[in-house]
Symmetry: C2
Subunit: 999 residues, 2 copies
Amino acid sequence: MAEPLDFQSIILKLQEFWAAHGCLIWQPYYAQVGAGTMNPATFLRVLGPEPWNVGYVEPSVRPDDGRYGENPNRFQQHTQFQVILKPDPGDPVELYIQSLEALGIDPRQHDIRLVEDNWEQPTISAWGLGWEVWLDGQEITQFTYFQQVGGQVLDPVAVEITYGLERILIALRDAPSIWNEPWNAAVKYGEVRQREEFEHSKYYFEVGSVERLKQMYDLFEAESLACLEQGLLVPAYDYVLKCSHTFNVLDTRGAIGVTERQAYLGRIRGVARQVAESYLAQRKELEYPLLKHVIEKSSASFPKPEAIVQIKGKQTFLLEIGVEELPSHDLESALDQLREQVPVLLDALHLAHADIQVLGTPRRLAVLVADLADRQVDVEEEVKGPPLERAYDADGKLTQAALGFARSRGVKPEDLQTRKMAGGQYLVALVRQTGRPVVDVLMESLPGLLAGIKFEKSMRWLPKPTGDSGDTAVTFSRPLRWLVALLGEVVIPFGYAGLLAGRNSHGLRPYNSPNIEIKSAGEYTQAMRRNGILLDPAERRQEIESQARKLAKSAGGALLLPPELLVEVANLVERPLPFLGRFEPDYLQLPKEVLISVMKKHQRYFPVVKDGKLLPCFVVVRNGDEQGLELVRSGNEHVVRARFADAQYFVNKDLQHSLDEYRSQLGALTFHKSLGSMLDKSERILKLVEVLSARLGLESDQAIYARRAAYLCKADLATRMVVEMTSLQGIMGGEYARRGGEPDAVVQAIAEQYLPVPGSMAGVTVALADRLDSLTGLFAAGLTPSATRDPFGLRRAALGVVQPLVEHHLSLDLKGSLGEAARLQPVPFSEQALGQVLEFIIGRMRVMLLEQGFRYDVVDAVLAEQGHDPDQARAAVEALTHWVARPDWHDILPGYARCVRITRDQQQTYELKTNAIKEPAEKDLYSALLQAESKQHLTGSVDDLLEAFLPMLPAVNRFFEQVMVMVEEPGVRENRLALLQRVSGLASGVADLSRLEGF
Amino acid sequence: MAEPLDFQSIILKLQEFWAAHGCLIWQPYYAQVGAGTMNPATFLRVLGPEPWNVGYVEPSVRPDDGRYGENPNRFQQHTQFQVILKPDPGDPVELYIQSLEALGIDPRQHDIRLVEDNWEQPTISAWGLGWEVWLDGQEITQFTYFQQVGGQVLDPVAVEITYGLERILIALRDAPSIWNEPWNAAVKYGEVRQREEFEHSKYYFEVGSVERLKQMYDLFEAESLACLEQGLLVPAYDYVLKCSHTFNVLDTRGAIGVTERQAYLGRIRGVARQVAESYLAQRKELEYPLLKHVIEKSSASFPKPEAIVQIKGKQTFLLEIGVEELPSHDLESALDQLREQVPVLLDALHLAHADIQVLGTPRRLAVLVADLADRQVDVEEEVKGPPLERAYDADGKLTQAALGFARSRGVKPEDLQTRKMAGGQYLVALVRQTGRPVVDVLMESLPGLLAGIKFEKSMRWLPKPTGDSGDTAVTFSRPLRWLVALLGEVVIPFGYAGLLAGRNSHGLRPYNSPNIEIKSAGEYTQAMRRNGILLDPAERRQEIESQARKLAKSAGGALLLPPELLVEVANLVERPLPFLGRFEPDYLQLPKEVLISVMKKHQRYFPVVKDGKLLPCFVVVRNGDEQGLELVRSGNEHVVRARFADAQYFVNKDLQHSLDEYRSQLGALTFHKSLGSMLDKSERILKLVEVLSARLGLESDQAIYARRAAYLCKADLATRMVVEMTSLQGIMGGEYARRGGEPDAVVQAIAEQYLPVPGSMAGVTVALADRLDSLTGLFAAGLTPSATRDPFGLRRAALGVVQPLVEHHLSLDLKGSLGEAARLQPVPFSEQALGQVLEFIIGRMRVMLLEQGFRYDVVDAVLAEQGHDPDQARAAVEALTHWVARPDWHDILPGYARCVRITRDQQQTYELKTNAIKEPAEKDLYSALLQAESKQHLTGSVDDLLEAFLPMLPAVNRFFEQVMVMVEEPGVRENRLALLQRVSGLASGVADLSRLEGF
């Protein structure tokens, strides 16, 4: 094997490769950009109808990736090679793989995987669908079909291929780190780059002046707008890039809070969109000069279809839809849809068949129909004609209308029949449809089957149809690349998405997707198996699970096998090969959550555990066979090691300071511009925790722990590990608190503050304080969530108030607590607003209870009276649920209802005068009431209420039988109403029983 | 011939070429830079001892080169390919030519010339020596040996090669313009670049906000300094680049005046120097990590010298010093030095010889000595010993001292002799030195001859000698590359500058500098001629002149042949081939000065004239033969066309506005921060012109013209043509005034305002006003020139006050006029300061007069009395010169001197009492005085003075013979002194005769 390429040779090879494939070779941009996408050679040129094929290097600057040159493969500047192919050449993934081969990467010796990546770049209002390309577990390329850029829909779509050159160098050389690898024959990468990595990192994290950077930002923005006004798009865009970089630096300096962040991004995006819009207009005005370069694809390039042959007898039918790698959930969804739609379709087509099998891998969806009939079943249909009275004239002859009907349906007048239908008698024509041959029918209907498959996110890859056909562009999860449609041995040559169905399928990516000719539908499954492809997801899962378990066992542990991960991994490969990777046991010192999160979420590896602890190994699933397995293993191990090293780096950096110190840095982190910094929020949480500790009745040591935890709870937001992986907030805070010698209870409270339901009382108290603060603050700032938007997660926060109270059986009056939280806010707060927040929380509780299966009427009845105390309300709902299920409920409710119904329209509450109670039934009811009222009531207890009411029931019923309430005489009437009002009032504060069904 | 390369292929080829030659391939920088030099891969890496070889593309942004995409090959962004070779590999020019061949440029088919270029970049405190490389007249590359960067001396020196890729593309394709040339096979250069050229140009010239840009500059500078403080050099340098670009934009916006400009540049330079200094310190601290890559040149690579052979008999001696292309004036200077030094050396070496010939071309200096003796002449020398009295003891025997002397001189005691010398008699030893063989002597002394050649600007190219040898690095005008030293057929293998002299010379560049073996010194001239090289500059001049004249005649005109241009052109080639080029007659509409300036100054072409007007053609002198001449001609024509087009572009742009409009823009152009804008200066000039018109007695129409000219005189500074070519200031103003319909007198006055001596009175008046304003203003602002620095050209301004007055014979009292000028200044002005300015002007006048050959004493005598009126003073000097040359001057001066000498120490002026005049001699003198005083005197006239004094001479002489002045009696003494004071006073206001020699 030849010496692997050095860094600059990778660049030279890629330039050569793409130049030879018709790309214009461009240069890095003269501005600090985060990615090659930002270069106008991409951002502007992908817009509009003109073709554009380009390749260039882009040293990409991402301040927050700075690691002071200490990390083996993470840096504030990395080198991209960017390729744009517009329009899609039809085989971009194949071209890409060829380019890897030009770099000396043999796909057979490696594991090359296309892992779903829904790319979006909000700064420039752009998104696309595609993949991360993994080489032995390492992301080396981003591959995207751009759908929109600068807020403009792309037509045609542009293919973007972004190589990460440092990662490729590392992979090519199986190197532990970038620094000692050769840039050229004489000089190492680190020799030219490492020192400046240190300097830039230090600048971005520690030195850059926040004040000056903010001033620069404003100046850049103003210049950009001035340029736009004059139609100077590239100069305007140059300043957009400067804004963007300046924003990134400010962000890295930790000077931008969550909401301020949105504001900045919005400003950048706004100008970027204007630039894109104006550019489109400009190109149109210039009449798209580059359009002349379009080479019309002659239809001659379309393969000649096989002759259409009609067949006799039942045959197996095969439809294979060849795609570029589908995301796991899209694969699942497509299979589900086919399972549902294919039988429906065949029924609708009157095509008889036996079993239907729907199978699939990331690169193909397959439908096999056994014994499909050779033609449609003949059908007879009754078509309704004119009513009898208009069908015959006075002479009993058919009218013109009737004759016309017969003619139009191709039926002889004498064959018309009469049917009795709703509304009278009618003429009917019996229309017989002779079944058409299956080939014809499928040719017509298969395109519709494909078009009917929908995805949560789908993409275009073909240009929009021209002319006035009114067709919309074909969309799918990922581009369709081939179609196989066979009925027995015969091709059904239907066309869809620019493809013509035939008998040619393709094999595994690592084998260069070889052509596989399918002779007949019946041999399809075997042909695939011969080519190493397991078509059935369930089979792949089984295969992975059994082998992975063996591997874990061989390593002395057991597999951590989350089912959703198994599904995903099985959907990432066509030929699964699990193998074991290892990492240095030292990394086990890192928090377990960090390690698991890296392995599962980032790498799709299965962790291995023993006695609840991680072992230093993991199971990877390769797509392919054993060839080059050692290379693949070592690559995957490298990746995990690098990721752990990165985490280690953060943790080590973080541990240089105490949590108390980090807390003091929260002042620089804006929570929201009108609600102050995260430090301000911390202070509010602290005060609120004191109030809540009392209200929740925390014991004194618990209260102390809660206070300390509240003091430190947000400190970890200023640590690098959390800045890097936000999902570790709280977890890292707990970890650092532990290492800082805080009491266990404090550690726990910090660690679990973001859990839906913290386990400890201190944790619950801190979490509640945090959530109540966010809810009141953000509502006061006008940031109430809408039906579709909830950017600050207030729904989650509201639920996060309810759940802990319920699960820990803590009674708390939210109204009072929200009032306390509101008083601490730096913005004014109205009673009405407070009501809104409470309403909002109760709304979430309602959803929760409904999801738990309670009846809506029960829930509503309780929440109307005691929604402000979630735990109590939950208990009441449960109790009431039992009551409404009782057989005697049909007596209880009506009895109570009679009391309520007759009183509820009264404007006033009358005083009951006992001396005016005359009638015995009245007296009985009164004494029953006194007894009910005298019983012990727990606040809000449904049982207490109804247990008290139950004995009253006979008295109630008798009362209504024997006593007339609404008599003429006001004194009597009012006193009877007063009595019933007292009875109705029993439920006050417990439930509004009038909301129950049957009331 | 293969299809010429497209743009991107040029880049790919150069990357490939230099990668194959050991260069690290680097990327363009992420900042807008004016040149590849600014990329830290050059700016930082050339510093210090570490080796560094790198090549990269650099899209270079120069706002003021923006032409809105309208010029065929001038743009605000052009693409450089930058190569750094450190240390000098020894053959960088050859490598460079090979790289051109890799691009498909055959040197035999083109004219490749290395034209002196003393590169300096004050922004980063850098300079170097080298060349522009011309391909058929077009500058395609800058080739520089860096001597200093960031204020740091480079050791070793770095070779910088900067290709201009657009120009190479144009040249390769013989294209009229860049826009239609291919970037790659599909896309044209203009299709991707032209529109943005327009946009950027518009931004830089019209849209950029001066205020915001100035704010940005300050912010960038502050960030840079903050980074420096923390030792973050690359981030600091990034901001230096941003400062630099921002400054360039401000400059292009026309927002920066001359002196403000200096201030900005000074600020940038200051930070750049700090960065460079700190970088050197940092690398030292890191212990120069890249030093390990140095491959020690083993001495084995040194060619084996021929055996040293002693020879018999007289031989021709040849010394050829092979150099890289010498600048014309350095070639002249080196030849002069050799002509002077070689005979001196041979004499000193006692080597007999016949004729010495010194010849040279840009690539070689040659010395031929006929009949050089085979050994030194023997010489006998008398060496002085002890004086006789110490040489012999009392016994007449030689003392120990005498014996010691004899021993030390290698003389037998009995051979000592006695000589009488100044100061007494001494022993002498006759020491005979036998001549050594010529080969030995030359080996020893030739290095000294080479080291003795000095240049105005010389460079290093070798690393400084290591160790404590104390040697300084070798310097020369350009690097020495080979040495030939032959005595007859024998090599004299002396070593110098890392070279060993031999017999191998090299031929013409366009022939790839082929090796030429010189068999013997005698055949050298012929060998060179055989190889096409004319060694004698005079012969080359003659050849060029005769052929060029023929060509001009053939075009129907005559050659414009400035002698200094002929010398230069003859020194740019070894094999001159003049040929005719043409351009479109349309360009003749441009001002003649512009055309001539472009042809002569920029291109070294000879213009062709007929009847005082230019013809649309020119004579170019190629270095080489007729091969590919059409290509060469077309290339040269393209260049001149492009330059004219550029001028045309400016003129057209400028003509869109009137001079009045440009005048109003002068407010944005700072003259000096405390002296206001150029508009303020214009206003002052206008007022001063009114005053001067009266003082100089202008006729009324002249005064009106002068006023109008003064009003418009500076307006052209705001035009693009003048911004582009400052040397055309005034000329363009005149041109635009003419086209604007101003009267001829106004046109002329504007056009000639910068001439040392304008021709018209209006012109003189404006020029004087301008110069008096600058002198008073800048002196007041404290910017008096020092001995070595005169950045504002105040010496020239002072002379420019004197000369017009003198040449137009205008009497003007400068003292008064300066006072008027001073009053108009916005800064306070003292009497003393006014005296300083006058003193300064008189000082320049003194230099002028001395240069005109007047005696210093005459000049000083006159200037002491009437320096404030230059014309009068000049006349007086002339007159006095005549007087001092008279034979009777030796009587006149002493006579007058007696009167002055005796009175000049008197503190007081006595009153002459006529009644106290008693003695006849006294009376005679008094009456002679009265007669002299009664004669008509023109102010300051020397003739009037001396004509009046001459008749008094006998009376004066008699007076001193017969009258005693300093008698005891005060009354008498004082009256006699009073009489003599009156006589002395005659010269007052004319000349201080006491300053004359012989006084």
